[in-house]
Point group: D3
Chain length 290, copies 6
Amino acid sequence: MLKKKSTDEIKDGDDIDDIFIARARGESIILLDSGTKTIECLSDHFPPNIKAGAVVHVIGRAISTGGRMKILCNSIEPVDHFSLDGLLKPQKKDLSTMREELFNAINSVKDEEIKALLTEIFNSEERFFVYPGSLEIHHAWKGGLIQHTLEVLNYALLAGGMYGLDRDLLVAGSLLHDIGKVLELDNGIRISREGQLLGHITLGVIYVSNRCLNMRIKEEKRDKILHIIASHHGKLEYGSPREPMFPEAFAVYHADELSAKLSRISEFVGAHKEDDFVYSVRDKRSIYTR
Amino acid sequence: MLKKKSTDEIKDGDDIDDIFIARARGESIILLDSGTKTIECLSDHFPPNIKAGAVVHVIGRAISTGGRMKILCNSIEPVDHFSLDGLLKPQKKDLSTMREELFNAINSVKDEEIKALLTEIFNSEERFFVYPGSLEIHHAWKGGLIQHTLEVLNYALLAGGMYGLDRDLLVAGSLLHDIGKVLELDNGIRISREGQLLGHITLGVIYVSNRCLNMRIKEEKRDKILHIIASHHGKLEYGSPREPMFPEAFAVYHADELSAKLSRISEFVGAHKEDDFVYSVRDKRSIYTR
Amino acid sequence: MLKKKSTDEIKDGDDIDDIFIARARGESIILLDSGTKTIECLSDHFPPNIKAGAVVHVIGRAISTGGRMKILCNSIEPVDHFSLDGLLKPQKKDLSTMREELFNAINSVKDEEIKALLTEIFNSEERFFVYPGSLEIHHAWKGGLIQHTLEVLNYALLAGGMYGLDRDLLVAGSLLHDIGKVLELDNGIRISREGQLLGHITLGVIYVSNRCLNMRIKEEKRDKILHIIASHHGKLEYGSPREPMFPEAFAVYHADELSAKLSRISEFVGAHKEDDFVYSVRDKRSIYTR
Amino acid sequence: MLKKKSTDEIKDGDDIDDIFIARARGESIILLDSGTKTIECLSDHFPPNIKAGAVVHVIGRAISTGGRMKILCNSIEPVDHFSLDGLLKPQKKDLSTMREELFNAINSVKDEEIKALLTEIFNSEERFFVYPGSLEIHHAWKGGLIQHTLEVLNYALLAGGMYGLDRDLLVAGSLLHDIGKVLELDNGIRISREGQLLGHITLGVIYVSNRCLNMRIKEEKRDKILHIIASHHGKLEYGSPREPMFPEAFAVYHADELSAKLSRISEFVGAHKEDDFVYSVRDKRSIYTR
Amino acid sequence: MLKKKSTDEIKDGDDIDDIFIARARGESIILLDSGTKTIECLSDHFPPNIKAGAVVHVIGRAISTGGRMKILCNSIEPVDHFSLDGLLKPQKKDLSTMREELFNAINSVKDEEIKALLTEIFNSEERFFVYPGSLEIHHAWKGGLIQHTLEVLNYALLAGGMYGLDRDLLVAGSLLHDIGKVLELDNGIRISREGQLLGHITLGVIYVSNRCLNMRIKEEKRDKILHIIASHHGKLEYGSPREPMFPEAFAVYHADELSAKLSRISEFVGAHKEDDFVYSVRDKRSIYTR
Amino acid sequence: MLKKKSTDEIKDGDDIDDIFIARARGESIILLDSGTKTIECLSDHFPPNIKAGAVVHVIGRAISTGGRMKILCNSIEPVDHFSLDGLLKPQKKDLSTMREELFNAINSVKDEEIKALLTEIFNSEERFFVYPGSLEIHHAWKGGLIQHTLEVLNYALLAGGMYGLDRDLLVAGSLLHDIGKVLELDNGIRISREGQLLGHITLGVIYVSNRCLNMRIKEEKRDKILHIIASHHGKLEYGSPREPMFPEAFAVYHADELSAKLSRISEFVGAHKEDDFVYSVRDKRSIYTR
């Protein structure tokens, strides 16, 4: 199914026959799409198979009460086939330009094994080019994953140039650090079961480890790439099972921090102009929005 | 080479021509074996290829100064082929009895996929049956890994019986939780490169993931087993990339804690009788040794 | 007074004349009993002597609004005499079987002083055999305290057998570790004043200390038992004024963890089947409920 | 035995026949007394009954090597009867003046039960008037315990006057907050077994609880006094099993902090004039000593 | 404008034409004044220039719904000129008495430079004598800042007398430790932009640093005073860029803690008599209110 | 005085008549210069005015014992006038090139007030162009402060370009974030008194605040620049009194982290080739050095 109208466009009295992402909350269901608003969906009873993150087909009518839009729901059903357009926020940079930039980086790699590994992976992994960087925290839009990845790459290469780091390893580590997200983010809109149980760091390590095995990548090279993936959250308490142990791993970790935090805080400032200082629950501090 | 005399048996004036484990410390090299003492090795210069954890062949003479034994070293060389006997502390339980107990547990598994997976792994992994549980922290002796594993199994099964948990999953999770140590503990006496860079949790996840792929284990089953391995340290800050998310994972985590801590503290009490209370640096408290 | 109908059985329009446990929340009062639901109690004004945890006699009428049951209250008064049946969730194991198991353990103790101490305490402390393990966190049902205590005992004895620990001390420490809860949990349904101000660990230490004084238990024995009670939360930040300092204290701490955590997580999984993953506020993570 | 010469007065070549406090460290024994220096005691072998904190009779000869004084020991034996003079640093305030100040405070109490409790305890507890406040951390001298207690009392009463707190409760809480130290500090020079296993907070709670029972102090009063003792370290991670829950408990906690920290830092500044800034390991920062 | 009627005095049906402090919350605006209640202000739309902390002129009508008072708002506008009376809670001690006590302390200073500095600052800083100690946390009433400051002074001087500290430095540090609050608390009722971006510690350091520069205070003296201001929260994680490094800084830190915590907890106890134990979110524990 | 021979060049038997940096350690004094080694200085007594960080003139003789070089000292005296050459490690990038790069950045600023502020500061602050970035932790060489500053600038500008940040503010924040180090690092070789008592963050805030006052920079601009300085350590526990509150502050914080950590870890790897993995105390982990 194709998305018709975003939550921002729905008006009082509109007939609704559209798809949304469901987020279960207590006794009603919250509906999301690429719009900035969420809409509460009211019904006498919901079918039991509406799980958080499911894409659902809703038939009903919009009503506005107390300044908030709601949908009186006649029917709600999970949908198996759908397009991300209209469900995810749209990309911020051109997708094909970013794809080209990524393959240019791969082609600049001198180590033949690494170049082959990257080529093999990114030629066969279309999800990487459309998925968001995360569901909510940063780069939460179509193409956000590759955009974030290229930001990390650029920071890491700038750092690598200053400190004489191994450029090929930096390219591999930057491009692959979040590859596990293609498994973690089911369809780009919900956390998959393996995403919940293992997380994108461990999924990425398994993913790349398998490819290395198949392509017979030399062990030390493989261990260093896997270490960069495993350590890219920088600290155990942020979910990395290992903390960075060589310069290229430090570079990717800090580049990832810079990219993720700046994306998040910029989005927050853009979305909050109601006061000079607005409290951000996620950052546990007030943010200056002027 | 075979070990001749332990550090506890060396006497002042003895001629030394034996193998030890080297642990690099500053300008001298510390030598270890299955004895309770460590011996400092003195030399005008050491060859550059003596790395921490290497097994070395030392020729020299023992001298006692200030109540401590040292070795004046004429020659020290890395050794490639050696037996763990005499280097590791000896097993505390009979190795073949423990092996039998482990296979009995495997044979009690009802789920055919899980039984096949465990049979395949433990039939092909001889290191598991001789390696220590860790280099220093707990079960640091020959056969310590399987002994620890069986302790975890017994606690987990007792817990599982009380709470109606999935017995097959508990057996799989208990037996495989530390399987990554066969890759982490190079020869059972030093941390391997991949052990340093990835750690036994991640190595175990990769190891079991590969076997599951080869044997086409069903995905949900695989994800649950991998989650138990990934979460068995219980908290992010202890190096688990995921915290336990279902009862069987909680059971293995706490069973592992109970086994590891009790092994460590019992060893400490056994080794320290010099006073009623002895400070344990690792536990950051005094231990009552009476 | 005796409980009539649980919150799960109340229907729209029912006349209510029954007892409940009150939990004060803002401007209405929440009512609980052995049912899984809580019911909000509405009134123009409440008498000032309705405190959190009080058992109250409510007269009124049930109404259902927005899918939730509420009680329009005509009268609400504290009740002094009541039975726990119908207020607490029912026991999960037979009370007299558990009592027998506990006395069997006491009778297996070889040290005459310890056996006498345990016999004296448990023969005179009927609250121990009916109280819950806690109000909400784990084993929150009638007989939960003894059930939890026996679980701890079984884990500790299994551990003690593996490591040659002092069996009599393990029995004493396991059976007495939570004895302070008979003072902390006023009537098994609210925290008493001394429970709030001192907590069950300190209350248990005072309780056992007094009994030891009266029975002239030898000092070292007494100090070790009191230490097990004092240290059984394992870490200062969990409220233990001392951390475990000998093997039997480690065993009881970890056995307590295993029993408490497994009870809690199993209850959570049993109560939450609305989605594959449900967020647990107490555990600060999603729990896999399939 | 009586102490003859302090470690500060011993000179190269002196014959030694004196008592010291032993502190075991590795293969030699460190000797302490009221002097500011510690002296290493060397011997071919020490009797096995020399435990840390024991008072020992040493016969030997002093030698100075590398700017440090050591004792070549001919004989070292534990001593049972000795005076604290010369072993502990001397008092900083007159002992009888402090005793008088304490009883004046007791006599100013209006509540007859509390006055009787305090009179009974302090009339029968001579250790309180000579013991140090702690072995090393603060008020580590003869009479330090009562000096610290009176400082806490004065801060708490000043605070109580500003905020209209319960004066009698403040006197009781201040005077009794560290009473457990008479049990924790064996002879004022070592930590006793019960001190190690239970700590002065729990020992103080037991001590005062017993006295209250014997004197039939009303329960609420008793619970508040016990809570002040239990919570006076202010935070769980500092060893208090409960955190302050009413104003008088907050007052005693912060008064204790002020007294203890100021004593410690003043001693440190007084003892370290070797540079403008000297690193304090205990405070994890440099201290300005000018 | 002058305040007419506090939120505690407003009754159902009252016509409202008064000033309040606005606190933005979601889609309505919360109004505060010196009363203990807050009132929700309802309107179809609010002008965009109503920011949190602004003083606003509201015209409307009070209605009581569900036991809570609200205002149906016809007009709401920011106000530039107003008196703090009726907006802030009233002083607890006489303002001119406190002013006199402060100048007496200044006049008791022996060091001429310090006396001149304090005289100059407090003669020219009228805000200090009327501002609250903080917006909510402690001493949140008119004159609260000077009241808190004098409490700190008294504790610090009592401590200084016991330990022979530098009295002049203690007076300066105590009186100036919170001087930055005159810049942080815009009009005493909201956090200013520089207060948000820099905080009162850094603002106080800049403020006093400038005065010292102008008055050519000797550098070491200035550095010590600035250090007391900078370190008076005691720990980095509480917002102090430096931790106390000499006794006078420790004294002011702990005196500040004692004053602030005792003010807060006394207010809490005074305001909560609805149950014996009331949970305090700020303290993360139940408080005993009897 | 001028430095003659580095610690790396001193040989057994050399006569020493040279300057060093003293670092006091216990009973000997450690000497440092631009060499990679430290040398212990032995003497019967040292003059009392040798403080940690002082530059000292040493006359004596070098002896090699146990593989370590020491100096038997005949005379050691503090020196007031000296050149940093030979005491600090030499610059890694050309000083005048870096100066030019810095002024180019200043000249690219569009905001006239900010350009004037930066021009004024850097035209009058020669220390900035020669001081190290820190004494030990990162960029610990001549010119390290400007090198680090330019690295931060480059990262921040790359980030700013991606996210449309305020370029002028980024230049000002990057160039000034560590300006307080010219006051903290006395002569570039020791921490000054004000550095110890206030730290470079607070010193930088005071420094820039004064300049802004003199040049009448607009208040909001000034507050934002001061906030970037105050928050550039990112977290309270790292010594920032404020955490970043707008995107440019986040950018400078993360750019600073990236620059500092990468400098430190690259130096560590370069200095440690003795084993594949070398434990770094500062990083609390092993570092892979291959």
